[in-house]
């Protein structure tokens, strides 16, 4: 029903291109892990290696303590939910969901019952006799989930399953995925490039770039205390102010921990009050986003910089006004290496 996954020093090359550079990752049983990164970062390759669709060039994959490096998808305790659902168009939903059980040799009556149970779980029991083409995208999505879970895999792999859905449906499916994962307790490994989706569903997020793991941690850790400039930028908008020594910066001396590099501040961590002063700044642009005002400030001391701040609804900033800005939760990261940029 559930198992842990160990990725030991896995490296994967496609001809001369190295898709994964010695990746190590430990996934606990029953965890909801999200592999997050831009396209080409190696997240789908890693997922395919866990699923057995690729054999890594080097390294080991252990699932539930057993070495699975050279075992094909057919014999692994994993199933995959594919990006394009990959339902069998000629079979009814019931037969689609029961397919994996049929392959294990379960009797017709037993697998039909189990399939109905799974379809019921995803709320499609009354459509069991329909064919996939009669369903909407979200419904096909659910059938794919039911089919992958019907064989009770130890690990479920999800390859950008929500990519094709519209925003509202995607948010709804995220909640459902999370709820179903809690209920069945299976280890979920989910691939996406949408950082909001990652934060909404993950127990732990693995941020990947150029075939390496940049940061691995809970959504709070990854968002609030990023380890690298790449994961800081990828998780959301970030103001970057170069600092050196004991807080020297273009804005003037700042009361931040000593360090050399870039001071990173999320827009919501800049405001009219806070832990330390950022000096005076002029408001150049503001727009109302419902939950907040998004404001562009030009610091008086450094007119070539722009700071983006999210001010609370109540604030009524006037364009051209000069105010003193404050920052919270400072994170100082070393300058980007050329590769991480």
């Amino acid at each position: 029903m559930t198992a842990d996954v160990h990725i030991n020093a896995v490296e994967h090359r496609f001809n001369s291109f190295t898709a994964l550079h010695r990746v190590d990752l430990e996934i606990a049983a029953g965890e909801f892990i999200v592999l997050l990164g831009p396209s080409g970062c190696g997240k789908t390759t890693l997922l395919s290696i866990i699923g057995g669709f690729y054999t890594p060039s080097e390294g080991q994959v252990l699932i539930g303590g057993k070495d699975m490096t050279h075992v094909g998808p057919k014999d692994r305790p994993t199933t995959t939910m594919f990006q394009d659902y990959a339902l069998f168009p000629h079979m009814t939903l019931r037969d689609n969901v029961a397919f994996g059980l049929r392959m294990c040799g379960m009797s017709k009556a037993a697998r039909s019952e189990k399939a109905m149970e799974m379809l019921d779980m995803v709320g499609l029991a009354e459509k069991a006799g329909r064919k996939p083409h009669e369903l909407s995208g979200g419904q096909r999505q659910r059938v794919a989930l039911a089919r992958a879970l019907a064989v009770e895999p130890d690990v479920l792999l999800l390859d950008e399953p929500l990519g094709a859905l519209d925003l509202k449906l995607r948010r709804q499916m995220q909640d459902e995925l999370k709820a179903i994962q809690r209920r069945v307790g299976t280890t979920f490994v989910h691939v996406t490039h949408d950082q909001e989706e990652a934060m909404a569903i993950a127990d732990r997020i693995v941020v990947m770039n150029h075939g390496r793991i940049e940061h691995c941690g809970t959504p709070e850790e990854v968002y609030l205390t990023p380890k690298t400039l790449f994961s800081a930028n990828f998780m959301g908008e970030m103001n970057r102010i170069p600092v050196s020594g004991a807080g020297a910066s273009p804005l003037g001396p700042l009361d931040v921990p000593a360090g050399e590099g870039l001071l990173c501040l999320r827009p919501e961590n800049i405001g009219l009050e806070g832990q330390f002063s950022l000096g005076a700044a002029r408001l150049t642009e503001a727009s109302f986003f419902g939950a907040h005002h998004r404001c562009h400030f030009t610091p008086v001391n450094a007119p070539d910089l722009t700071l983006v701040a999210h001010l609370p609804q109540g604030a009524h900033p006037q364009i051209g006004a000069e105010v003193e800005l404050f920052g919270r939760n400072p994170v100082i990261l070393p300058h980007a290496t050329p590769e991480a940029a």
Partner: protein
């Protein structure tokens, strides 16, 4: 302009269909020669054809050869297409090219090549030899049709089947074949009609048991007769029937 385009359309269809219409019309000729003037309607020639034992044997032979060779070509083409769609091997492009290449070679060359090769290995000209020849010409066709039908969507469904624990024969039989049914059927019917009509290979690779086109040809050597028209009309009828069946089942379904 409008008037002209109708004239053009009429001329076009006349050009295409006149030979066939003439053939069919004069197969009912009440006289010894299938040439104008038309002297009246008789079914005598059809009766003669249908009671001609050599002709009926040839018809049966043709059916058997067409059925067996197109089933063979279909199976081989299906296996080749699903194999090449599944994995990228070194030289995949070359293999695809080699599979399709016979399509570009004239039937005469293929027949000559086969004739020489069969001589070498001691296979005498026969229906079996002709059948093999028809597999050679129809395999590229079946492969091309089926390979083209396997898109990304089909590939990922096959991947999903393997992921869910299906063995390779189960993937092919339970998922690939039903999913590709329209193209399988199209490939089969096309291969069947091509084999059914094929003359050159059958002519060079048969001796005692012959197929229908070869039988018709030997009948033509003894001169024109409405009987040949009747046979031709029957062959045409079978081809039409296949096209109509295709239209009613496959293409209508496909357009839905």
């Amino acid at each position: 302009m409008r008037y002209l385009s109708w004239v053009y359309l009429l001329a076009l269809f006349t050009f295409i269909l006149l030979p066939v219409v003439t053939l069919v019309v004069f197969s009912f000729q009440d006289g010894r020669l299938p040439v104008p003037p038309f002297k009246g309607v008789t079914f005598e020639w059809y009766a003669k054809v249908l009671s001609d034992r050599a002709m009926m044997e040839a018809l049966l032979n043709s059916l058997i050869v067409a059925l067996m060779s197109s089933l063979c070509a279909l199976t081989l083409g299906f296996l080749a297409a699903s194999g090449l769609a599944r994995v990228i091997l070194p030289g995949s492009a070359l293999m695809r090219g080699a599979l399709i290449a016979p399509m570009t070679v004239s039937y005469l060359i293929i027949a000559l090549g086969l004739l020489q090769m069969f001589n070498q290995i001691g296979l005498r000209p026969s229906l079996l030899a002709t059948g093999i020849g028809h597999v050679v010409i129809n395999l590229p066709l079946c492969f091309a049709i089926i390979y083209a039908a396997i898109g990304e969507h089909q590939k990922s469904a096959l991947k999903a089947a393997r992921d869910l624990g299906a063995r390779e024969w189960q993937v092919l039989w339970l998922v690939a074949a039903p999913m590709l049914m329209p193209s399988l059927a199209a490939a089969f019917f096309l291969a069947f009609t091509f084999s059914w009509d094929e003359f050159i290979i059958a002519f060079l690779l048969t001796r005692f048991d012959v197929t229908l086109p070869v039988e018709i040809w030997s009948m033509l050597r003894s001169g024109l007769s409405p009987e040949t028209n009747a046979v031709g009309s029957l062959v045409f009828l079978v081809s039409i029937a296949i096209v109509v069946v295709l239209e009613l089942t496959l293409f209508r379904k496909g357009s839905k």
